[in-house]
Amino acid sequence: MGKLAAIVVILLVAGLVPAPRDEVQLRIGSKKFTESVILSEVLRLLTEQAGPSVTHYREFGGTRIVFDALAAGEIDAYPEYTGTILGEIYAGKGLTDAESMRQELEKLGIGVSESLGFNNTYALALTRARADELGVKTISDLVRHPELQFALTHEFLDRADCWPALLKAYDLPQKKVVGVDHDIAYRQLISGEVDVIDVYSTDAVIRHANLVLLEDDRQVFPRYEAVWLFRNDTASRYPAFRQAIERTAGAISEAEMQALNDRVESRTASESETAALFLAEKLGVRLEVASTSYWRMVVRHTMEHLDLVRRSLLPAIVVGVALGVFCQRWPSAGRGVLAGVGLLQTIPSLALLVLLLPVVAWFGYRSIGEGSATAIVALFCYALMPVVRNTYTGLEAIPRGVVESATVLGLRRSSRLAEIELPIALPTILAGIRTAGVQCVGFATLGAIIGAGGLGQPILRGIRVSDPKLVLAGAVPAALLALALQLLLDVLEWAVVPRGLKRRQVRSEL
């Protein structure tokens, strides 16, 4: 009994103690695309050179997640686009002008900065050669060339404020319009198969392939001015932060943003280096960016990953075994528990993470970022099922005669559990822990989606900038960790499971 209590205490302490973390004053977030990450790096570097320490939660989600994090005060700022605020965050509210948007955000304690200087909206693009040949500069000019072949993305064709609006406003005569994927449209444009495609106005490819954007001379496309959304309370507490926001106002043109995006996506420089270069050239702020080596990065993410696994798996073992015991002892209530735990595991992992975000935030825990409670709770939920089920199965499989013998010998329930039942079920329980552990290492890569760090981070970034080396930097250590964990548990099993419970020996009849 004492031994069991000791194991429980050790597991809980080892599982619940948070890793030491640097004290951070400011937190900036970014959405999961290159431009957002670069802009947040700019703000981070600019703020830090004036004093306060800043953490950047990179690429931890889409609009909803990042905006909610800002509203909940989990981050202090992130870059957003006016069109997204009006059309997505406040969709259906019928806000149209900047002032009503400002007032609406004010209610949440969120401020909006001046435009950073560029409008990242939809645009029509041609190769420079073709544009010069035809002599087109504006969308209106297209009316003179009905023979032009268009390749447009499906989203562009479908959105009411894009193609349908263009057709109407400019009365475009082109008949040859096909719907394709962006990558294919781009390749067809370069090879000369098509003449016009749609792009985002700050796409890296514009600069990369020397494309020309046609001016939206009738202003049909919605405005997507880049702005900072920031917490007003933080801005008044840290003047350096407010000044940094103000200094970036109007600082970046569309062409400059294209160039910055291109630097990162062509893998010429990291987001931090790119941001530093911009600061030096444009604002005259010179600073050193510590470039972390590849291996350092791998080690750091591996440690973060281990931390996620540790803090979810160890408590899941304690709770899982306890629930398994409960299910076996009180079968009618236990059926409900088993069903509930099973149900948890059927929730798609992405959905579970997003569903948990507000719950975790409501309880006052940090829902995003490194070591976020959301990721840990989600991993805990997934790890629970194999442990509960195997504990239950292991206990159920003990022959009735063995349990009854222990009872008639006079062992009390608690002693019987600690001394007889759990030790006999141990091989099955360990098998459950092994399953839970291996799954946990795999699932933990998803933590990166909400900025929880870990080996999912390089995978996500690798996918974004299509860099297989980065994807491998996450995938390979994750696979190795799973293997190592399995090996560790095999050794543990070999060490703690007595001979009598191992493979049946050949009996010598006497």
Partner: protein, 242 residues
């Protein structure tokens, strides 16, 4: 020593044990004999406190069996079942001394008692550190017996203790069991369907049919003067078979 007064057991309205009154004096070996399903095992399990009687009273050494007294009563009991019920994760030795450890016995005292029992049950001492899976069926039953006897119980309950054994081993253990019964001086209630075992062990036999005692007395009387058609057929079927 053991008293059962008007004890009954029924499951969902079906009677498994009809009102049963039994008095077993100290030192007697009582055999509950009958075909499977006659209720003999249920009676034993009620005495062990594993099954609660539907009505009636059971007393061991004058102590009436109840939730409050069950712990005390179990100190007086030894219990051996067909497959031994040994703890597979413990060695034979650890199985045997488990309860003495809880009772706070000293190492020397445990060792003395172990030597005594090993000798009494004719168990090979070098097999004490083996796990149950590494023992033969007969050895496992001897370990189970030692475990049951270790704290010197006054009442020994055995449920088909020879049931799962090969004939040769069975004969050997049957012989040794009798010695153990005599030497331990415990009161014994043994459940079996086997006439030979009943004749070998019993001071007194209770023949059961469908939860009811149909004949009670010394073994010879059962064979020579069966009280009913059922008892006659039950006896004859085994005599003819052997």
């Amino acid at each position: 020593m053991l008293e059962l007064r008007e004890v009954t057991k029924s499951y969902a309205g079906a009677t498994v044990v009809a009102p049963l009154t039994l008095h077993v004096p100290a030192g007697e070996v009582l055999v509950l004999l009958g075909p499977s399903g006659c209720g003999k095992t249920t009676i034993l399990r009620m005495i062990a406190g594993l099954v609660t009687p539907t009505s009636g009273e059971i007393a061991v050494d004058g102590l009436p069996l109840s939730n409050a007294t069950i712990g005390q009563v179990r100190h007086k009991l030894g219990y051996v079942i067909q497959e031994g019920g040994l703890f597979p994760h413990l060695t034979a030795r650890a199985n045997i001394v488990l309860m003495a450890r809880y009772a706070g016995w000293s190492r020397e005292r445990m060792e003395r008692r172990l030597v005594e029992l090993v000798e009494m049950t004719e168990f090979p001492p070098d097999a004490l550190d083996r796990y149950p899976t590494e023992l033969s069926g007969g050895q496992r039953q001897r370990v189970s017996l030692m475990r049951a006897l270790f704290l010197e119980p006054s009442l020994l309950l055995l449920d088909e203790p020879l049931g799962a054994l090969d004939p040769l081993i069975r004969a050997g253990l049957q012989r040794d069991l009798k010695t153990v019964f005599t030497r331990s001086g415990a009161t014994v209630v043994l459940v079996t369907h086997d006439l030979v075992e009943a004749s070998w062990f019993a001071d007194r036999v209770c023949v059961l049919e469908a939860g009811r005692v149909v004949q009670e007395g010394p073994f010879a009387e059962i064979v020579e003067r069966p009280a009913s058609q059922f008892v006659r057929e039950f006896v004859n079927s085994q005599v003819v078979a052997s």
